[in-house]
């Protein structure tokens, strides 16, 4: 593509990195202008995403749009190739919402804010890069970049958990998260180099590799590597244990980005690299993904029910909700996969909202113990309202985006694996139980005099919560636009039937 359309993705990817460099070289120690600068950059990336959304042509059959190709290393056939399909566009939209939200919520961070903003920008640059890459090398490159800043972000700005007989050091959580994810990327890496050699095309271009049609036996051993490696970042059971620990230890804005966007990289990788290049492998291993996804749903929601720490509840609910994504992908049906991608979007927004509210409570009350927190609605009516919105989206109430996404996944499941579909519905029921119980206790329970003077949400929190809640509502009431965009991407995947 020529003109601005050919450069918009590249600009989108480079902008956060350039901002990180600019912040490193920033003269002077005044923090406030840096925060405004970071917010400006975040909004600029959102503007670029909006441009992509507006110009995206979903009537045309072209699979990838906004393509830009730049040779990078001839010897290995690596190109800095960018382009998006409907699935990636939905993910860009999610990131475009979550990034400014995280910067705004991070406004309260006062310790070493400069380093904090640098790392946040690096992380988001990696996320945009992964979603937009059409070259396997660069996809992996950006994927690794997105994961790494997490270590410092959690280990320095995070908080250790210690109440009752349970304790988790933030350094421990940070190291666990990074080592788990990097171990996962070893599996991905093995699959990538194997694909390069097996294809014999001397290229890492995804467009070319997707048309190779690998040997079935090759697909059979490569796909699980991709499924587990990427699935790890998506919180696939039983390799999810890093995820609640990491979410809980991270500072609020990082939890938002992490549960909201980063975990989606995993599911996105399964689609883009796994299912799209290995249709037969995906078919062969779909039952396993289905089984693990079902465990994700049930186990995650039961575990969430047992938690006494507010953030751990949200952390385990993320594990449970990502289960629907895996279930949807495993159907290999247009309906189910579309639902999975919509669930990625919806859960990203919803969980970001939940972490915002949990962060607000923790910041003022300095506790996350559900046993102690009670009847906060009196003191924080606005917070209570938004938590109700997030909670309803989480349990799949009609009118919110979660309902549409889960409905599509259920429909896809009932067409293919009705028993698992039934199980998934049970999971949704458990979600309703713990979400409503949590809401009833923390916000609407007996008012504890300790929390009477608690301040309500601050301006930045209101702004973020309002935007996120509005997104949930808009997508819930008028999901057609997003569904069309996503389905456009999904129906081009050869492995996906119907």
């Amino acid at each position: 593509m020529d003109g601005f359309d050919g450069r918009v993705l590249s600009l989108l990817v480079v902008l956060p990195f350039a901002a990180a460099v600019a912040l490193i070289l920033w003269p002077g120690d005044e923090i406030r202008p840096m925060k405004w600068f970071a917010a400006g950059v975040a909004l600029a990336t959102t503007g670029l995403v909006v441009w992509v959304l507006l110009r995206f042509d979903y009537t045309d059959g072209a699979q990838y749009q906004f393509i830009s190709e730049t040779g990078w290393l001839d010897q290995l056939g690596i190109g800095y190739d960018l382009g998006v399909d409907g699935i990636a566009v939905a993910m860009l939209a999610l990131t475009g919402i979550a990034f400014p939200a995280a910067i705004l919520i991070g406004w309260n961070v006062d310790a070493r804010s400069k380093d904090y903003l640098v790392l946040l920008n690096l992380l988001v640059g990696g996320v945009y890069g992964t979603f937009a890459s059409l070259d396997l090398f660069f996809l992996f490159f950006f994927y690794e970049i997105a994961v790494l800043p997490m270590y410092l972000l959690i280990a320095y700005w995070g908080s250790s958990t210690s109440f009752r007989d349970f304790s988790r050091l933030k350094e421990y959580s940070a190291m666990k998260l990074v080592l788990f994810l990097v171990a996962g990327s070893v599996l991905i890496w093995i699959a990538i180099v194997a694909m390069f050699v097996e294809s014999g095309l001397n290229t890492f271009s995804l467009i070319e590799l997707q048309t190779v049609g690998f040997d079935e036996s090759f697909q059979d051993w490569t796909f699980p590597l991709l499924m587990i490696g990427f699935g790890l970042l998506g919180g696939l059971w039983p390799l999810h244990t890093w995820s609640p620990d990491g979410h809980v230890s991270a500072p609020t804005s990082v939890s938002m980005l992490h549960a909201g966007v980063l975990m989606k990289l995993g599911a996105f990788g399964i689609i883009r690299v796994g299912i799209q290049t290995m249709p037969e492998g995906a078919e062969a291993w779909a039952p396993l993904l289905l089984g693990l996804g079902a465990v994700n749903v049930i186990y995650g929601s039961i575990a969430a029910m047992a938690q006494t720490d507010l953030k751990y509840v949200i952390g385990y609910s993320s594990v449970s909700h990502m289960g629907y994504v895996f279930l949807g992908l495993a159907t290999l049906q247009t309906l189910g996969v579309t639902g999975a991608v919509l669930q990625m979007f919806s859960h990203g927004v919803m969980t970001a909202l939940m972490f915002t509210l949990a962060g607000a409570i923790y910041q003022t009350s300095h506790t996350r113990d559900i046993g102690i927190l009670s009847g906060l609605a009196k003191a924080m009516p606005v917070g209570a309202f938004f938590f109700a919105v997030a909670g309803f989206a989480s349990l799949g109430l009609p009118g919110f985006s979660g309902f549409v996404a889960e409905l599509l996944v259920f429909l896809g499941l009932f067409k293919t694996y009705p028993w698992i579909g039934a199980l998934a519905v049970v999971g949704a029921g458990i979600t309703a139980v713990y979400t409503l119980r949590l809401m009833a206790k923390v916000y609407f329970g007996e008012t504890d005099p300790r929390w009477r003077g608690l301040p309500d949400l601050q301006l930045n929190e209101k702004l973020v919560a309002g935007t996120l809640a509005l997104t949930l509502l808009v997508v819930g009431l008028a999901p057609f636009y997003l569904i069309d965009v996503i389905r456009d991407g999904v129906r081009h995947i050869p492995a996906v039937a119907g």
């Binding site: 290393l73 380093d115 070893v186 890496w189 093995i190 180099v193 194997a194 390069f196």
Partner: protein, 495 residues
Amino acid sequence: MNVNFALLSPEYVLVGVAFVVLTVDFLLPREHRIHLSWLAAGGLLASAVVALVYRWDTFETLYDGLFIADDFGLFFFVFLTILTAVVVLISHDYVRQHVSQPGEFYALLVFAAVGMVGMAQAGELLTAYVSLELLSFSLYVLVAYRRDDALGNEAGVKYIILGAFSSAILLYGISMVWGATGTTYYGGIAEHLAANEGDLDPTLILGLALILAGLGFKVAAAPFHMWAPDAYQGAPTPVTAFLAVASKAAAFALILRLFTQGLMPALEEWQVLVAVLAAATMIIGNLVAIVQSNIKRLLAYSSVGQVGFLLVGIAALGEVDGGVVIPNGLASEAVILHLVGYAFANLAAFTTVIAVDNHIGTDELSGYRGLAQRSPFLALVMTVALFSLAGLPFFVGFLTKFYLFTAATEAGLLWLAGLAMAASVVSLYYYLMIIKRMFIDDVDESDLLPLRINVPGLSWVLLAALLIGTVGLGVYPQPLADAVGAASGAILPGA
């Protein structure tokens, strides 16, 4: 025989520089001798320029291939002399504080460079051996420079004894190869191996194994790595940097040329051996690094691990398919690229270690607590260097490891590539522990040392250059890859 002695002009310049430095040392008043570093560094770079002018795109040999001037040799000539020049410059502060005879110190480094360029360009075992010994003898003196320090003495003694021992093994191996084949030329050995395929004299095999063991000692491959941590810790830090980067690069240049031009036809015999050596080296180096509490020891084990990665590339130099050896050009390119990337990152790390040592006076990891507060710049450089060594993106190490493991897979060694990737994860753990110390931990309350570290101008420039190189080559590698491609093409035609 018509011998073109002018071909050796760059080497003459190099030797000349060493003698000039030694002589000027006598003539200069004591307080000005420190400036000999500029003379030595300038001379080294001048020799690189002479080499580029004289040897650009040439292929010429002396004495029927005893000495080979080709693109591979030129690449390593330039690379190794630049590395030595950088080491000369980073030792400036150290020499000012600790060395009474700067000329001697710098001249030894230049003599070592002469040995190193010889190793890269030798086409015959004894020439390679003599060059290696020139390097080793210079290093024996340099490693033992801290004469009044117990650790320095231990380092010197260990290094000399094991160095001499390994030289003996190497020489013994060479003699056996000569006995079996009647030649020490790489080309002659290759012809012999190709002619007697599948029916090799056991003496020859034993000789090759001994050569491999001797070289294994020199590059500190497990299980021959025992000397490395002690030598690294006891040697003056600039010398440690030289040991870890330059001498290793030279040894791998020798290995690359020997294995491609000499031993390739016998790939089936040595591939598994090298692969096992690589696996052991990666595992031992990276696992033992975890428990180190001294930064120089940690970097020693980390560089043992890096040697393991490089050996993965050596094992992948070819593939046997239906009894025919198919050379794998990607592998030799990958090894050279990884050497370059490793050199940038490791020099950056060691330059940081030197700066910290000069101001806080310790090599212990505990001295790195709160380094980000003491000097954000040093902490940044160290972080970039460690991430590059761990093979993380944006930094050259990511690309070179990616290249290396792709090459290994190309040669059918996917299991070894997978193991190497897993070893990378382990290495990330101990690198992150250093980063945690620098960024997360606070400076000790009881610590009475100055809070801020001011990096002197020269170190600052070098650190910035190494930082830019580590990032720049990771983001825009094409020109380097082209140069490496030309170098690799000279030793592995048809790739």
